[in-house]
Assembly symmetry: C2
Homo-oligomer: 321 residues x 2
């Protein structure tokens, strides 16, 4: 069956999402050897942990990899690497704190590392993706929310309590009139998340009579993805939405550069699939806005990790560090 050579060390990656929990055995190159999933909404976190542990054990057995797995990595919302627990409000069915690392270590007898989605993405890019060999970069995860994972001097920044890199909640004048889920105004997330992009489209449509295919879409149909598709097929308003979003990201990146002098800023997650629609205006705005020290020195990239599996592969990289 297996035609591709496999490269140890092997790890297990777990992507704990609000709807589904996906897990996989991954090799050193980020290749997914086997993958499975189950619904996250279980009667209790113990039941969830039992299902996951049984699934992982069975998968390891099937591939005769007993003794060859160096660790388990779990990417989860609000996961704190320092405590091994999920802390703070999430859209998971269990109340925080959830002692995720302890639960899984007890069941599997393997070291378990957890981290939030953005930090797992940053480490995944370093282990398997476009940041291979880089010691200084920032990953911005653009999805339902906006997160940040910062690697500087070769280290993932965690901070005093594990809350470093909350770049979706840095505030900017371009978002001053947008209310964030955190209760404040002006957060980058209000513009650069999937929801922020839809909001931008609504605003542009409300402020003008410009013709656009977006006006024909129902509330359910209007998403960051359909807007990107419209932009790619030549819709001027949809293009304007992504130009604005990219410009905002470039202005944000211009300030972020002053913190850690990154070699690259990498876009990750569903919204990042827009690719050049975002990256081109982002690069241009960055050049205009940033301090001379960083101008023309920062590369803008999009994650190379396979779309649907990117978070999973990121999680699988956690035990490698």
């Amino acid at each position: 069956m297996q035609t591709r050579p496999l490269y140890p060390p092997f790890t297990v990656g777990v992507d704990l999402g609000g709807t589904n929990t996906v897990y996989a055995i991954v090799d050193k190159t980020g290749y997914i050897i086997d993958k499975a999933s189950f619904p996250t909404d279980t009667p209790s976190v113990d039941v969830w942990a039992d299902i996951l542990a049984d699934g992982i054990s069975g998968m390891i057995d099937r591939h005769s990899l007993q003794g060859d797995i160096v660790g388990i990595g779990i990417g989860a919302p609000s996961a704190n690497a320092m405590t091994g627990s999920i802390e703070g409000s999430t859209n998971l069915p269990w109340p925080p704190p959830v002692p995720l690392a302890n639960l899984m270590e007890a069941r599997l007898g393997l070291p378990v590392k957890i981290n939030n989605d953005a930090n797992a993405a940053a480490l995944g890019e370093k282990a398997y993706g476009v940041a291979a060999g880089m010691n200084d970069f920032i990953v911005l995860t653009l999805g339902t929310g906006v997160g940040g994972g910062i690697v500087c001097n070769g280290h993932l920044l965690s901070g005093a309590r594990g809350f470093a890199g909350e770049l979706g909640h840095v505030r900017f004048p371009f978002a001053a009139d947008r209310v964030c889920g955190c209760g404040r105004k002006g957060c980058l997330e209000t513009v650069a998340s999937a929801r922020g992009i839809v909001e931008t489209a609504r605003r542009i449509m409300a402020e003008s009579n410009k013709e656009t295919i977006l006006r024909d879409m129902s509330s359910d149909e209007l998403t960051s993805k359909t807007i990107a598709e419209a932009a790619l097929s030549g819709d001027a308003v949809a293009k304007e939405v992504y130009d604005f979003t990219g410009e905002c990201l470039g202005k944000a990146a211009a300030e972020f550069a002053a913190f850690t002098d990154p070699e690259a800023i990498i876009l990750f997650g569903g919204v990042a699939k827009a690719g050049d629609l975002l990256v081109n205006p982002m690069r241009e705005a960055f050049g205009k806005a940033t301090l001379h020290l960083y101008r023309d020195r920062v590369r803008f990239m999009v994650s190379s990790l396979e779309g649907a599996n990117a978070a999973l592969i990121g999680a699988a990289s956690l035990p490698l560090l």
Copy 2:
């Protein structure tokens, strides 16, 4: 003569300023064993390096510390730790780049580390000051300019090319109408530097007829120091100047926290001597502005390094890391 016990390792610290070069032998506790200085403005950088090397050698001999010095640390404007050179424009008499580390290593046969003033300050606070034992903190140097030194996960952040921590050039709405020396508008430095504080005083005086002792001061007399003295002696306008400055610093710190989740933010440099005049409004503004994750979690402190020698002691800490 020497009544205080001395604790090895010993280092030499050099504070290279535009006017004077100060050097000293410092012990592990940050105690200055001996200190001397000479004017920086020499015919060439080689002459400067000769004078400094002779001075340091003589000082080591006088204290019979031959073989006991572990290294030389030099704090200098625009010093790049990664290259060992001064890069970019400075107010020094020699054109950049200046290969400072090489020049001194060749003359003294000791390892030489250089860093910019703000990074030296951060390491000095960790080695000898209020950040002893801390792994996550930010030092803001408030003087002629504003700089930043960031320690996260126990490491001083340098970034891809040594330009991490340029926090004086992060831009904020509260400074949107102020032009910075870097050619952009809105940099924190335009408000929180010594010059920024004088500018704030001028603006408040121009916008109102409020009585204040500051109006009686000549252009030369009106400095961040005399404004602080006026505030402490009850002058309402001078107090307003520092309230505004502290509020701006608090708003800036509120965003900075999202990058590295610091345990403390430490004010350093001439302007920081205003102490509670700055720290109290800063703490209050931070609490109002920051994300809930950081609220009530960050300590605001003023450098404990002896005022006139703080930069020198910071430089002396460089070889210890």
